[in-house]
Amino acid sequence: MRAIKWIMAACLLLLSQLASATEKVVVLSSYPQEVITPFEAAFEAAYPQYRLEILWRHGRDAMTYLHQPHSAVDVYWTPAQRNFAVLAKEGAFRKLDIDLSGLPKKIGGFQISDPDGYYVASETAGYGMAYHPAELKRMQLPIPTDWKSLMSPAFNGHVVMPVPSKVGYAPMLVDTLLQGYGWQQGWDVLKQIAANAILADTPSTFISDDVGSGREAVGMTMDFFARSAIANENPLRFTYPEKVGYSPAHVAIFREAKNLDGARAFASFVLSDQGQKLLLHPDIRKLPVRPAVYASKPKGYFDPFASAQLASYDYDAASGLMRQELISALFDALITRHHLELKTMWSAIHQAEQKTRNDPRLQEARTHANWLPLTAAQTNDAALQQTFIQRDSRAVTLEQQWDTEISKHYAQATQLAQAILGAKP
């Protein structure tokens, strides 16, 4: 009898120890805490046998860490599209052998998941315009409907524009305009908006802050910053341009994952109905990549799959990602470092246009204003891309050459416009 009791007690002890034993699932991420917290809580509740261990690193720091021996990470789950592309190419991931049904690989013409199946989109975000309705009304400005709305001189001093070399989400924003409108027209639009804009070179949420507080009327930003602020009862609104650009985040399992079952469980959870619905939380407001989830979306929540049927364009994410540094360097040359000249130039051109539309010098001024140091084809040159990824001496030399040429063209455009203004009727 005593032996039976002893065995029962031992079994109970063993069971309680088994019940309390948890396995770590190590996930590398750069998500903010607002995203990590609900996923961590919901995943651990759904899979009590696992405990999530988040290693937080973003961008290049994440790549450096992953390239170390024994980095011991199971899952990569983050918005860092290029890192995923590079790691997949290096063979760091295993093919995702989990149920991916109900998850499209594209939103319209936007490829969001790896065609080879090594990493899949876990959520996405769209680019657009946050605006303060009361401020717009006070200044008698229209609600913008497209990026081009912000080119109007009426918006001068009322727009915030992120600098891609400083603000994490901005390189893709800029590239979606360049691919959406085409190379030349894209830069024309960007430069004319910049002529109206205050440039933001601080981390991302500040544009929503600036617009939400009414300090600025419109900001170029990502939907979730603004949508989250709106969900938290801040007095701003958000609108998408005619052709929406997307920035997806991804999930992938490392080939060397120590806890493969745990990794599969986490990736499956992130992509599941339950995981995707977490994205609708007021503090997150990302766009789910599982279309079925939109059936339970809050009122007014943007559905990219429905929107893509209305206006779509093919976006080449692979080339967009590889030329990011080059585009950011060009942006700094064309806009950031010559911002005052750009503003003066476009102010003079707009004033000249008010005076006359027929003066041939006007077209000449516009030609100088729209001058670009590179063609679209040149930005796809792998060696040139590497120059700006590494920021070697050639990059510095090129930037100096661009600066000289850009200053010259902007000055000529300004002189021509001012000449029209100074000319007697």
Partner: protein, 485 residues
């Protein structure tokens, strides 16, 4: 004009309905029962006046009327625009998820070797209060366990355990084993109120599993604590020490005492008044913040330059550091400033009849004897906008014996195992809006404010009994009042 409107005293302090207990010099004592009664009644009358006062002319400078999920995130409206970059820098540090060293992002590196959470807001969700885990399997995400053994640390504070230190750090960086896990289970009992209503109260029972650095000795003292909210702390720091000390000797209802804690100030290298923390065991915000950085996240700072590894934790001691210190002085300054500038929410629905009835009941039940409605701030150089303000925190910042049921039996400087600092009540009505799981009392055992009231004992036994004796409608009015804060 401002003086005429708000009754500003010669010292420049708005004194309408100010905390009257603080007005009396400590050497003035009444010795007859009559005098005591008169004094007490006068005190009640004046508190009643203070509770019924409309908003002060300048209250809007230091409080926020935002009552959304972002209510605790607002800067005081009077913060100069020139201070905005510093506030935003501090905010970004509080929101930052920290990185394990070595890292290319040196300015945000230094997590661990041992830690509880990755960021400040992982525990202080929306700058609000934490909660207790619902099940043993759920980790302590907004809660921690303080540890100590009998004796003191040489400054009168708790003596850390030789292997585990002063706090259980559940997590370790790769290569460093976390110290163990605290599992929370609850025992439940019902309290019957006079009108027959039964309220279920739950008490946490903590067990420790997976202890990596040896079993806890029998004499180990443990104290689970949820995270407190972050707003309004600059205003509390701006209350002059003399005013807090004066509250000790202020006349109070029978059975209510209150005393100050004296705690080690790392910067001044001496014991001073304690005013922050569940046991008033922190002297100022800077030390509270730096203590949380090193204690909760393993991030060293100019105030606490040593990593949180004990002699018994070899791998921890050999782990790389991101700098010495990891949090720079400039970052600590910005973090401190951010906390100074966070506004407390302004009372809502103050003119609602039920709220006003609740305020009167709060007073009648003697709650306001410790949850003092108003305090005054003095000079405050780090953020002059906080100077000479009337504030409504509903605390005396003093320690009170709260009885056996709430005791953690873990002394903390002068605070005994039964004593707790009166927690401020401002903004408490928005706690569940900011985080639906927000808990109340030091270990988050109370799921509602009423449950928290019913746990009151010791010096607050009469107050709790008054609430138990209330009619359902009076209890509802009291709750409405608390929800309006």
């Amino acid at each position: 004009m401002k003086q005429q409107k708000s009754g500003i005293s010669n010292s420049g302090t708005t004194d309408v309905g100010a905390n009257l207990f603080a007005q009396k010099p400590s050497h003035v004592r009444m010795n007859s029962h009559l005098q005591k009664t008169q004094s007490w009644l006068l005190g009640l009358l004046l508190i009643a006046l203070s509770l019924s006062q409309p908003a002060f002319a300048n209250e809007s400078d230091i409080t926020t009327d935002k009552a959304t999920r972002e209510a605790y995130l607002q800067a005081i409206p009077a913060m100069p625009e020139s201070d905005r970059p510093k506030f935003i820098h501090g905010r970004s540090l509080v929101r930052q998820v920290w990185v394990i060293a070595p890292s290319e992002n040196r300015e945000i590196a230094g997590l661990g070797p041992l830690y509880n959470r990755l960021s400040c807001i992982a525990c202080h969700i929306g700058n609000g209060r934490g909660f207790a885990p619902a099940t043993p399997q759920e980790p302590m995400r907004t809660m921690l366990v303080r540890l100590s053994v009998p004796g003191d640390d040489g400054h009168g504070g708790p003596k850390p355990h030789a292997a585990y230190g002063g706090q259980l750090n559940e997590n370790g960086v790769p290569g460093v084993t976390g110290e163990g896990r605290a599992e929370v289970r609850f025992t439940e009992h019902a309290v019957k109120l006079k009108d027959g209503t039964q309220i279920k109260l739950r008490k946490p029972v903590i067990t420790f599993v997976d202890l990596a650095y040896g079993e806890f000795p029998p004499e180990m003292m443990t104290s689970p604590r949820i995270t407190p909210p972050l707003f309004g702390l600059g205003l509390l720091q701006a209350v002059p020490e003399a005013d807090i000390v004066a509250l000790v000797d202020a006349p109070k209802p029978e059975g209510i005492k209150g005393r100050v804690n004296r705690v080690w100030d790392e910067e001044q290298q001496k014991n001073v008044l304690g005013r922050f923390g569940w046991k008033a065991n922190m002297p100022n915000l800077r030390q509270q913040i730096a203590g949380a950085y090193v204690g909760d996240m393993g991030i060293t700072s100019p105030l606490f330059p040593k990593e949180n590894c004990t002699a018994a934790q070899g791998a921890c001691r050999q782990s790389p550091s991101a700098g010495s210190p990891e949090l720079t002085k400039e970052q600590l300054d910005a973090s401190e400033f951010y906390h100074f500038a966070l506004a407390a929410p302004r009372q809502r629905n103050a003119n609602n009849k039920q709220v006003q009835r609740g305020a009167a009941l709060f007073r009648q039940a003697q709650c306001s004897a410790c949850h003092v409605p108003q305090l005054k701030t003095g000079d405050f150089a780090p953020l002059p906008a906080l100077s000479h303000q009337i504030i409504r925190p509903y605390t005396d910042l003093l320690l009170h014996d709260m009885g056996e049921a709430l005791a953690d039996h873990r002394p903390d400087y002068l605070a005994t195992g039964r004593e707790w600092r009166t927690p401020p009540l401002w903004g408490i009505g928005l706690a569940r809006k900011v985080d639906p799981r927000a808990g109340f009392l030091h270990d988050g055992r109370a799921r509602t404010v009423l449950e928290a009231v019913l746990w009151h004992d010791g010096e607050a036994a009469n107050a709790a009994q008054s609430v138990k004796d209330m009619s359902a409608s009076d209890r509802k009015a009291l709750t409405k009042f608390l929800e309006s804060l």
